[in-house]
Each structure stands twice: as structure tokens, then as C-alpha cells.
Chain length 549, copies 2
């Protein structure tokens, strides 16, 4: 992009945007505001003031270990207060906070470590096994800081040398003189993992995180009066940045600790007990929570709760279920690791508030939403690159640029074909934008089913299928076809009876007959990727050739 | 300040922060959201979508006139929609939007113009006289764009050449291809005027305005659901940035047009009729509005209204009066032209919400408030420069730095002694910070009364005096004294009886006997500066030597 010069300003533009300012502000303005970590008997409570002291101790301790500005320090941890301390304590020194996805396959995790070359790993005791599975092959690592309530000599591991997180904090000085860090230097790194290929490194600058935090706080509307429950895993895309926005706004913060989708009780308790007004997560976690709530005797009153929902389109019955049962509002947002992630957020604009029926509003609110200020987004024909109209019909690839969008992958050849010449990131997502400006993702470009020269959206089809009460999950892929190029094939997890006619009936609401899947097959479990998405690569491989026989 | 380097990031940090993104977002996401301009019969209504088209026409029209990136374009206008169009239309091209204070003395205004060298002036027809009084002596000006509903040939002026704002917009193309502008280039300029010396030029960068807008929107909590009435004059410090924050958030916007403090009815009507939830202004305007409301038969319900109050400490009876009568909340904020202006904003932090009595909360809320995230503020001994503790007692000069604080004055020798070596702006304000972090301005450093080696705050004394029901206004200065160095002298505007004993009684609540003014003198009108502050320079000159006789 061409950038022109104007008249010189007198502003202090050399003053760098460093996220240290956010925790400083929280410790200064709301030192007594509470931070809650974990659930049940192991729950831990302290304040911004106390957290800030521990972050300063962590920064001093890292310097004692020899960590210098520019070094990478990896973190393998759950959503808890120690992980949160790393959010500020590591990058505040000028080092890079390397987020490690504990659900990654060990091959991929090892690749990430060898590619980013951290000098130290900070590991939760319960995740030592994950670290042990990969760290021996990573020569850059000089030591392991173990997050545990136990004494270090009770910790069993073959990793060495190890340090106790608590011990090094206790021994460190409680005050740290935060440096001012060039705002274009890396603050953190997160590796994005698709279904194919090696992870790609996104290294967020301090400026990037600073601006994203301010925007997220504004888009969600977080103030010091809010209580924020960070449910999205903190090891991926900074947990969508919510803990930063909460810190920036001085809101109460609640971390669930380790949790599993199969056991949603602690999450529901946390939101209820801490009077959360904002939380975030994916339908994969919000759905079992809703099921759990349905069976409760005392349904919580969540009239003040906004649930930021990402990853996939929120199912209609989930949105309605939460609203009717608890009063909570599901707010759909869209983004990716490459976009920090906030790109769009959904709200019903005032002019539509009166015009639309409740049903139409729900339909609207399932879309990915409106592009937030500061971000440029367009949809283009993936072949010609030509921009497509916002007519709600024309589907194309979504291109994104802005101050918190990555402009390359770290040390990676794939940078070359992932960005346009004028700096847009090619998301690989296919979508339409309606005349009101609402984005709707229709598919991954590579998952679009190309049949007889037309596009069929596999995602739309999946979303419709899972609306059937007996369908737990669904995956639709295009399989090679001698006549039509590709034809849709659906794999479904059904709970009870499997009735092809009923499913066709549902699909016929929005799909033409020629678009219906050639086959719908029953399965016990749809293969998933490490981040819980349908693993279409594996499914395609398993069923490829099926329509060629 | 020293800034260290870290590891390279992959973020798109070269993407410049340009305020054009804000109006683009409003026009994209809430094109039908209303903008109201003026009051009564001349009221004009349109939408963000329509305003955006006119801004594009303005940008094209300016280019037609020959305006280029880096050129200055001056604006002399009231708070209305055309002025608002200049907020985006001028700087969006890369030119500098030069704010001209229409209340400035012609000598000062002429100095500003000759110092900033605008190529064009955009002038409201009703302010042509002001322009005529100064522009003939400003050789840089090539033409005058007249904002008027009349035909140009009906406009009487000796300025030339003139252009009709409406005509050039009509003739211009409705679409404009906004350039990307280096974010450190000047977006706008505002000259700060003290009671002494020539105005000093603050040239805000695009980045500065962008970041300030995001912070203001977050601090106030503005969303697309709000309705914002811009009462603070838009020609000074961007009207404290509120119209930007409203645009950024997609809120409804209301401009009062031309108004006078003596006639508050249109302002009250505007806030009521447009269901304003946020407005801004100084006690000088909020006080007569409250007096007017008191006499109304139907008192407005302003339970949802936040009134951002700046310039001076809000009087207690004003805060209570609004709350009790209308439900509106006065929110005190502090800043200066040099700080864009947001430095502190007042809210009662959650931990104090329960601990303090209602009366203590009111006392707390009259303070300037808590430093917003991103800004660094400290108080120092003005002689030694040593930082003073936050004990609520130690008074010193307030120093400020941050991304929206100026780091110099444009082409001005006074830059040299206005900033510390590490980039703090020396505000000239004296204040104390309490242990909770709340700032309280006690005086201007130069207005502090130094008596017998102790400080007496002239501002505190003035604030107490105007709490007396019969006192309309008060000004306290230190006059030279042979024995004590200085002694306080008070000038008061009284409404009815003048009773020295009653005033002493009020002052004795907070001042020791030795601090009471040696004289309290009655006056019909306290001399004011162009921005409505007590003109202490004039008063000191008039009464100097009084205690020496």
C-alpha cells in the first residue's frame, strides 16, 4: 500500500504502545479488583494489585535465569492465574511469550518449538508429559519452569534443569523497572494449524496487541463494572484477547483452570458464582454447558451475560436456548490467529432493530457480523481477485488487512502466496456480505464443493444438519466425481434413529435437489483437528474415490 | 526515553492509523444512524451515510481548489454538521485541519494564522466578520470557503476570492479515494492560549487522534446505542474528541449549532429531544442549563445521561442539582490542549463504592479522577523535579506523557522549557494525588499563593466561595506582600447581599485563619480569558501593589 506524507506533527509518536500500560493501569486504578482462578476446592483468589506484584517478580526471575529482550519463552498451561501472569510478565521484559497449544500433535508441537527456538519453557505440572514428549528434541531449550503448588522435589519428570515457578517468584524482587519496547517488536507468538501442512508462525507486535485490546474492549463494551470469564483456551490467539480487554478496562477476571467440555458444571458455576457479564468460547463448549443447565433445578439468571461465540456459526437452538433459559445473549464474532482475532462482531444495527422480526434477527445474529472499525475486509473472486458486490449472494474469498492483521508468517515460504500485493491476508474462508454489511462465512475455500460449475457450501449444509435434534455432529465434503467434478458426501453422528428422509427434508429448506448429498453416512465419531474442527483432510482421504467406482 | 528492541514481529505495523477508518466504519455499519445539527427551525438532520458522501465531496472539492497533502486549511465555525464534515474531509486528504478559536482576540488569531500559514479558510457566514478582522494581514490565504445556506452573491464580505461551501460540494464528485497517510503526519492543529504570551501550536498526528478516540470511547463507554450531544466548542481541542468517539462507536450525534450560555434552552431541548446519553461541556455552560431546568414545569428525565465536565472542578451543588433534578451524572475529566485532552476521568472504583458514604463519593467525584490507561502522570516538586508521593497532601506540578501527549510546540522556542528530558509535558498545573490514585488539581503553578513559605491554593478557595448561594463567581490571586511574600486577595461577583463574615465562615471549613484572604472585594464582572477562565493576569495587574502601600 502506498502511504503519503503530510505536515509534521508535534505528537509524542515515539512513545511506544506497550501492553505493560494496561496492567499498570489496572494495578493503579483498581488494585482491589478480584481475579479468580480455577474452580472447586483448588480455587485461588487474588487482586490486580497482587497479580501485578507477581508479574514483576516473574520478570525479575526471568532476567535472573538469563532471559533477554528478544528471547522466546514458551508456555504450556491451562486457563489460570499463572498463565495470566505470563501474559504480562514475559513480554513486559521484551521477551516473546510463545503460546503452545497443548492439544497439538507432538510432531507439530515439536516443529513449533524447533521453529521458534525458545530458551525456556514454563509448564504446568499436569502438562509435563506433553513437554517430555517433545522437548528432548529441541536443542534451544535451556530449562523448564514448573507451575505447581507442590515442592519441586516432589515433581517427577525427566526434563532438566527444572525450576519451581513459585520458588523463583518468591526469591525475586517484587518491583521491576519495565523497559519501553519498540512497538513493532514481537510481544507473543502463536502458530496457526490447519488440517494440512506445518504450523505457521504469527508473531504479534506489542502495537498489534495494544490496538486489538482497545478495539475488543470497545466492541464488547467492557468496563471496570464487568466481570469477565475467560473460557476460550489462553494458549491460542491469546484466548481471543479477552483477558487483555478485561485488564485494560479494569474488569473482574475469572479463569476456570483446567476444564473439559464433557464436564461443564465448573464452567457454569464459575459464570454464576462470579456474576460474569462477559465470557467467550465456541459452540463446542457452550452446547454441553446449555445441556447441563437445562437439567438444573435452579436455572441461573444470566440476563446481563454476553457470550462471545466464535470458531463456527452458533446453532440456532443454542442461541435460543440460552436466551430463553438464562437470558444470556450469544454474540457471534469472527477472526483467525492471523487477525489476533477480531475482524467482525455481530450486533443488530439500530436501523434493523425495528424492521426485523425476532426470527429474522436471530438469522442475522448467526452471521459473522459487521467489520469492526480499523479493519478492512472484502470478498473477491478467488480466481480473478476481483472484488465482489455486497449483495448477500456473491460468494468469494475473504481478504483482510489492518493494524492487527499479520503481514507475513515468520520464516516461512508460504508467506509468498498468503497475501495480496497490497497487504491483504488471504483468509482461505469463503463468504458473502449482505447489503447491510453483515459477513456470512459459507465455507473454507478449499472445502467448497464444486459441482457442475456451481458452488455448494459444505458449512451451510453442516449447520443445517446439526439442527436436527438427533444429529450430534455433521461433516460434509466434496468427493471427486467423473461427471460433476465433485459431489457432496455427508458424515453424521446421530444420537438415535438415522432417517435419511428427515435429513433431506431439512436440507431442502435451503438447498436445491441437485445440491443434496449423494450419500449421508452414519459414524460414531467425526475425526477432529487439534482445535476441534472437522478434519476434512482425513475424511476426504478415507472416502476418496468413492464416487469414481 | 530509552526504547529497546525485541524480536521482529510479523504484524502489519506499517498499516497507518488514520481516522478515515472511523467514518468509513460508521458509513459501513450504521449508515442510517442520525446526525442532528442546530436547534429550532434551522435544525438539519441527515445520516452517517449522507455525511460520509459530503465528506468525500469536500475532499474532492479541496483538491479541485489545489489543496495538497501537508497544506493547512483553517476552519472558523460553530458546532454543526459542516464543521463535523471538516473533521474528516480535510485531514482525510492529508491536509491539516486547523482549528480556529473564534473567541480569540484578533491579535492572537492573526498570530495563529501567520504562524500556521493556511492556504484556505473555511468560514461560517456568521463569522465572516472575525475572518475579515484578521485575514487581510495573512499572506498565505488564497481563498475563503463560506459555509452558508444562502447564495454566494448574497454574502457580503470584503474577503476574496470566496467560494460557497455548498456549491463546491455539489459540483464535486461523490466518491473519493482516501489516501493512506503516514500516521505521524499532522491531522489537525490547535493553538493553546494561556493568559500570557503568544498562542502555542499543537499539531496532532493521525495516530494521536486515532488512539485518543479509542481511549475516550472506552473511558466513557460509548457504543452504537448511545446518542451523543457535542456541546464543548469544536474549535478547541477537537471539542475534547467526543464527536470522534461517537463516530468511531457509531452513536447518534447531535450538534447544537450556535449557542450562548445565557440562553440554555436550545441545549436542554437538544439533549432531551435527541435522547442524549452522553454530552460534554464546562460548568460555565452546565450551570445556566441547570438554572433553566429548575424553572421548568416538566423536568427532563436524564437518568441515562453522562455529562462529561471539564475546564474547572464541578461545583457540588451543580453535581447534586443535576442528579436530584434530572438523574444525570456529572463525570469530571481532566486534560489540556497538549493532551488531546484525555488524561484523567473520574469514576468511583468498585472497592470504594461500598466503603464511602454518598457525601464522600461526591467529594471524590469532584476530583479530576484516575489516569486513563496509556497515560503516565506524576506530580513533582517544581523546584527539584523530584517525584512526590501519592498521599493526598503533597502538592506538586503535574507531568504527563503518552501516545496522545504533544512532545513539542510547532516552531516555538518555548518547547525548550515545557518538557522534561524524558519526554513529560510540564502542565503548569499543581495538584495532589491521593492514595487511591485520584488526582486533584489545586492550582496553576503560577497561581499558587506563596505565603510565609507555605502554599495556599487559589482554586480551592474559589471553589469554596462559589458554594455560597449568593456568590456567582469568584477569583483569588496572590498579591505581593512586604512581610509574607504574597497574601490572598479575593474578587467576588455576588448576587444579593455581600457578607464578609459568611464567606469567611465557609472558607474556614477548609482553610486556616492565616490562609483567609486579606481582602474580599465585590465586583460586577470578573475579567475572563477567551476560553472563559478567570483572567488572573489582568486582575493581578489591576490590584498589584495593594498590600505594599
Amino acid at each position: 500500500m502506498e502511504v503519503i506524507d503530510g505536515f509534521p506533527s508535534t505528537s509524542g509518536d515515539e512513545y511506544p504502545l506497550n501492553t505493560t500500560r494496561f496492567i499498570e493501569a489496572a494495578a493503579r486504578n483498581v488494585p482491589d479488583r478480584e481475579i479468580v482462578s480455577g474452580t472447586g476446592e483448588d480455587q485461588f483468589r487474588y487482586t490486580y494489585g497482587e497479580a501485578y506484584e507477581r508479574m514483576q517478580r516473574l520478570a525479575n526471575a526471568l532476567e535472573e535465569l538469563g532471559v533477554e529482550a528478544g528471547d522466546r519463552v514458551g508456555v504450556l498451561a491451562w486457563n489460570d492465574h499463572r498463565h495470566y501472569e505470563c501474559y504480562f510478565g514475559i513480554p513486559g521484559t521484551g521477551a516473546v511469550f510463545l503460546q503452545l497449544n497443548l492439544r497439538l500433535h507432538s510432531d507439530q508441537l515439536q516443529y513449533v518449538l524447533n521453529h521458534s527456538e525458545p530458551r525456556f519453557l514454563v509448564v504446568d505440572e499436569s502438562l509435563l508429559e506433553v513437554a517430555e514428549g517433545v522437548a528432548h528434541e529441541v536443542s534451544s531449550i535451556e530449562g523448564f519452569v514448573v507451575m505447581t503448588d507442590n515442592d519441586l522435589d516432589e515433581v517427577e519428570t525427566d526434563l532438566e534443569p527444572t525450576f519451581s515457578y513459585e520458588d523463583i517468584l518468591t526469591e525475586a524482587e517484587p518491583e521491576y523497572d519495565w523497559p519501553y519496547i519498540d512497538e513493532t517488536s514481537a510481544y507473543s507468538a502463536c502458530y496457526t494449524t490447519g488440517t494440512t501442512g506445518r504450523p505457521k508462525g504469527v508473531y504479534y507486535s506489542h502495537r498489534n496487541i495494544y490496538l486489538h485490546t482497545m478495539q475488543l474492549a470497545n466492541s464488547v463494551g467492557i468496563s471496570h463494572e464487568d466481570s469477565v470469564a475467560q473460557i476460550t483456551p489462553m494458549f491460542h490467539g491469546q484466548g481471543w484477547g479477552l483477558a487483555y480487554a478485561a485488564t485494560y478496562a479494569g474488569a473482574k477476571l475469572a479463569f476456570p483452570g483446567r476444564y473439559q467440555a464433557e464436564n461443564p458444571e465448573p464452567l457454569v458455576d464459575l459464570i454464576r458464582d462470579e456474576d460474569a457479564t462477559v465470557t467467550n468460547g465456541a459452540p463446542a463448549i457452550f452446547m454441553p454447558m446449555l445441556d447441563y443447565i437445562r437439567d438444573l433445578d435452579d436455572i441461573p439468571n444470566w440476563n446481563d451475560l454476553q457470550m462471545m461465540s466464535g470458531a463456527t456459526e452458533p446453532p440456532l437452538d443454542m442461541m435460543q436456548g440460552y436466551k430463553e433459559l438464562t437470558g444470556a445473549e450469544i454474540v457471534h464474532a469472527y477472526g483467525a490467529t492471523e487477525t489476533t482475532p477480531l475482524v467482525t462482531m455481530n450486533f443488530i444495527k439500530p436501523s434493523l432493530e425495528e424492521d426485523l422480526s425476532e426470527e429474522e434477527k436471530l438469522d442475522m445474529r448467526r452471521k459473522q457480523g459487521l467489520t469492526v472499525p480499523g479493519i478492512e475486509m472484502k470478498i473477491v473472486d478467488p480466481t480473478t481477485g476481483e472484488e465482489l458486490p455486497h449483495d448477500g449472494e456473491s460468494a468469494g474469498e475473504i481478504l483482510i488487512r489492518g493494524p492487527w492483521v499479520t503481514s507475513s508468517y515468520y520464516d516461512d515460504d508460504r508467506t509468498e502466496h498468503s497475501f495480496t500485493d497490497d497487504g491483504f491476508w488471504e483468509s482461505g474462508d469463503a463468504g458473502v456480505i449482505d447489503k447491510e454489511g453483515y459477513l456470512k462465512i459459507t465455507d473454507r475455500i478449499k472445502d467448497v464443493i464444486k459441482s457442475g460449475g456451481e458452488w455448494i457450501s459444505s458449512v451451510d449444509m453442516e449447520n443445517l444438519l446439526i439442527e436436527h435434534p438427533n444429529v450430534r455432529d455433521a461433516c460434509v465434503v466434496g468427493l471427486e466425481h467423473p461427471e460433476w467434478e465433485e459431489r457432496p458426501f455427508a458424515l453424521v453422528e446421530v444420537e438415535d434413529d438415522f432417517n435419511r428422509e428427515e435429513l433431506d427434508e431439512i436440507l431442502s429448506q435451503r438447498f436445491a435437489d441437485w445440491q443434496l448429498p449423494d450419500e449421508i453416512e452414519f459414524t460414531d465419531e467425526i475425526p477432529k483437528t487439534s482445535v476441534g474442527k472437522n478434519n476434512k483432510k482425513v475424511i476426504r482421504e478415507e472416502y476418496e474415490g468413492r464416487y469414481l467406482d
